[in-house]
Symmetry: none
Subunit: 428 residues, 2 copies
């Protein structure tokens, strides 16, 4: 069953409002197993709205209109739909009473005339009560097509959709959609797609969609079937293959888990503590980690050493290192990480030094970044050349530093499991 | 001139993403004096996209397509537009080089084949360089119609639009729009609106729009006229009144200047150095300041002291203070600021300690924040009770800390000018 969304409101066309209703409804439709091919936004203009309704009615089974049900002259969704469907507007008694009651409680002496307009409904509509406002929702069945009108304010729309419209649509559409997410770090979008290009090429049900997200790659695998169990069954083998091909690059398969959450959980599980020694990113890694409630069990303190003097004073980076190799160097990154761990008494220290631009310094190019990770008596260093604006370079550096942290711990564990070394004793 | 927007991406139809690009562009169009009657969202489907382009091309002067320019097979905006306009795709040499460069140095041995697709452009396109990604923007003039293709990721789209597309559209649109911005910090939106409610009530041309922005309030005053001079003349008297009513609350009237930029410039002018002592915000203040190129002349180092031990060890906060008053207290904030300035040898230290939630601690409520500013032998403390999510509380705290910093300097100067004290000697 194909559903189409028309959002009505000049405020959306002027950019005064972000169309979060569209995202909310789109997600709901997907969960109900409905297909949506188009979303349109149009202003408070009867002629243009009429044309859109006509087009949508032709190409979709269910047309949902949101907004334009209010009391003002600008609100003409209902009038336009009634005209298109050739149905008279009649007063709905219950809706009239809701309006009366809502004004009663507000101790308004006289109800402004235009409010009664909200009680008018096209003949043959199913009137859906609005428990959070005065404009009712409307379901109009017209042959094998359905037109649904919903109020625009989120606090009216959401409960009405969840309580009344979703059950109505569910009963019209037996199919169910199930989707799983696979989140990767440490790999580019194109590389990641290459690794599963056979799956992508062969996709029908489930489908596989990739999203690049600030240095991460997320894959969404979506199946539809008669019931949830069958849909899950379709998704499962694809996930299994992805797991085996991506291995450790997958940091989570939970919808709501972010990279920093995954890393904090990883450290917490292992009872490890972490510190940060940041130059280039000036506190961004620490800020991202502490965005997570309870970060303090893992992260106690961080160093922001933005000039050479601070690197020497706070992190004991040798003056000779800074002089000979410069602040943006492998050697400086290493000393920052090593000394950061020691000074803070943390198990792990991740350090970053680099050039975010806009101008080259020390004869080094913008985008050059060194990061080091000190863990378990070993210091790993990586060199990156990031492209983009200053903000982009810094953002990528943060994501790659978090990735590096993760990889260092995993590789260490792998190695120890091979050589049968004793597990690491957490810092006392 | 009528502009129409088509957003391409299945993720929008599935509700995985909110279409914030549409709101951003809509606002930009309105500022440019362009009319927009329709916005449409369509998935990664060539046939449906083709139909939409056809419809939009007929009814609008400028058709803007966003998204679907990436390297994967799903990305087919360019191919579809080329087919509709009957133009061959040819390789753009510069775009090819950008792709090569972006992969060079990333220690990728081989560039995945699908990436080259991003260098193909319809014959006769104006290629707009993407400084934050590999997919270029395209402007295609076709008789009296224009089709513009833009990349979907916000950090690529926004700078490209502002730097290249907006100037292009401005030159196509003869009626001139002139707007000025007034950016305030340290006042709420409703308070700010109250102060100029007479102007807001009387507005016609120019119009006055308020935007609350992460703890700041921005007013945009927009006039349209035959030429820029006349438009400016309309805006000027309104700005004059706003200046006199808001005074020091205005931190800038420059479009591109952010609060952190204004503050860094203020410190630089006065040859003052700054350090940060952060608990609650875990490095966010330092990160925001170092987002600005050249921050290092003012900001040398920062402390992230996330637990009590770190506050004592790094910032010498007395154990008795932490024990008696707790980490979230006026006294702790004061010691953090005072000692932070001393230890770092900076002229100013701003400190933050508080509870971002989700749970109360030390018997104190979520949202309670203390911040202190140590400057010129005086320590100022403020107590705030912020509302909202953890992220919101932390964000507001950063903005209010930057505001406090600014106010401390201005008040100190005012006082000194009254008492005729000698100007401050910068830290040697």
């Amino acid at each position: 069953m194909v559903v189409e969304l028309i959002s009505v409101g000049t405020e959306l066309l002027l950019g005064h409002k972000v169309n979060t209703n569209a995202a909310f409804l789109a997600e709901q439709f997907a969960q109900l197993g409905l297909s949506m091919y188009y979303q349109t936004v149009v202003g408070d203009n009867a002629e243009r709205l009429y044309e859109l309704v006509e087009t949508a009615y032709k190409r979709s089974d269910v047309v949902i209109l949101v907004g334009g049900l209010g009391p003002t002259k600008d609100d003409l969704t209902k009038e336009t739909v009634a005209r298109f469907l050739n149905r008279e507007l009649v007063e709905d008694e219950h809706s009239r009473k809701v309006i009366e009651d809502s004004f009663k409680n507000m101790s308004v002496a006289e109800i402004p005339e235009n409010n009664w307009k909200q009680a008018l409904v096209p003949v043959g509509s199913v009137v859906v009560e609005n428990k959070n406002g005065t404009a009712p929702g409307l379901i109009i069945e017209d042959g094998d097509k359905t037109v649904i009108l919903l109020p625009g304010p989120k606090r009216e729309l959401m409960p009405m959709f969840e309580n009344d419209i979703a059950p109505y649509l569910r009963q019209k559409q037996p199919d169910v959609i199930y989707s799983a997410i696979v989140k990767l770090c440490g790999i580019s979008e194109s590389k990641a797609e290459e690794k599963i290009h056979d799956l992508i090429d062969a996709q029908t049900n489930p489908t596989i969609a990739a999203y690049a997200n600030n240095g991460e790659v997320h894959f969404r695998v979506t199946a539809h079937a008669e019931d949830e169990k069958s849909a899950k069954k379709l998704v499962k083998p694809i996930i299994k293959i992805m797991r085996s091909r991506f291995g450790n690059l997958i940091y989570t398969m939970e919808e709501s888990v972010t990279l920093e959450q995954a890393i904090l959980a990883m450290l917490r599980d292992r009872e490890l503590t972490l510190t940060t020694a940041e130059s280039l990113t000036g506190g961004m890694v620490a800020a991202r980690l502490t965005d997570i409630p309870g970060a303090s069990t893992v992260f106690k303190e961080g160093f922001v050493t933005y000039n050479n003097r601070a690197k020497h004073k706070m992190l004991d980076v040798k003056k000779s290192t800074l002089k000979e190799y410069g602040a943006v160097s492998e050697k400086t990154a290493k000393e920052m990480a090593k000394n950061g761990a020691f000074i803070s008494g943390s198990d792990i220290c991740i350090s970053l030094t680099g050039l975010a631009g806009p101008n080259p310094e020390e004869g080094k190019p913008v985008g050059l970044v060194y990061m080091a990770c000190s863990y378990n008596n070993r210091i790993t260093v990586k060199e990156y050349h990031f492209k983009g604006s200053r903000a982009r370079i810094r953002e990528l550096a943060v994501t790659y530093a978090l990735t590096m942290l993760r990889v260092c711990i995993l590789e260490d564990e792998e190695e120890r499991s091979k050589t049968n070394t004793k597990p690491l004793t957490p810092n006392p």
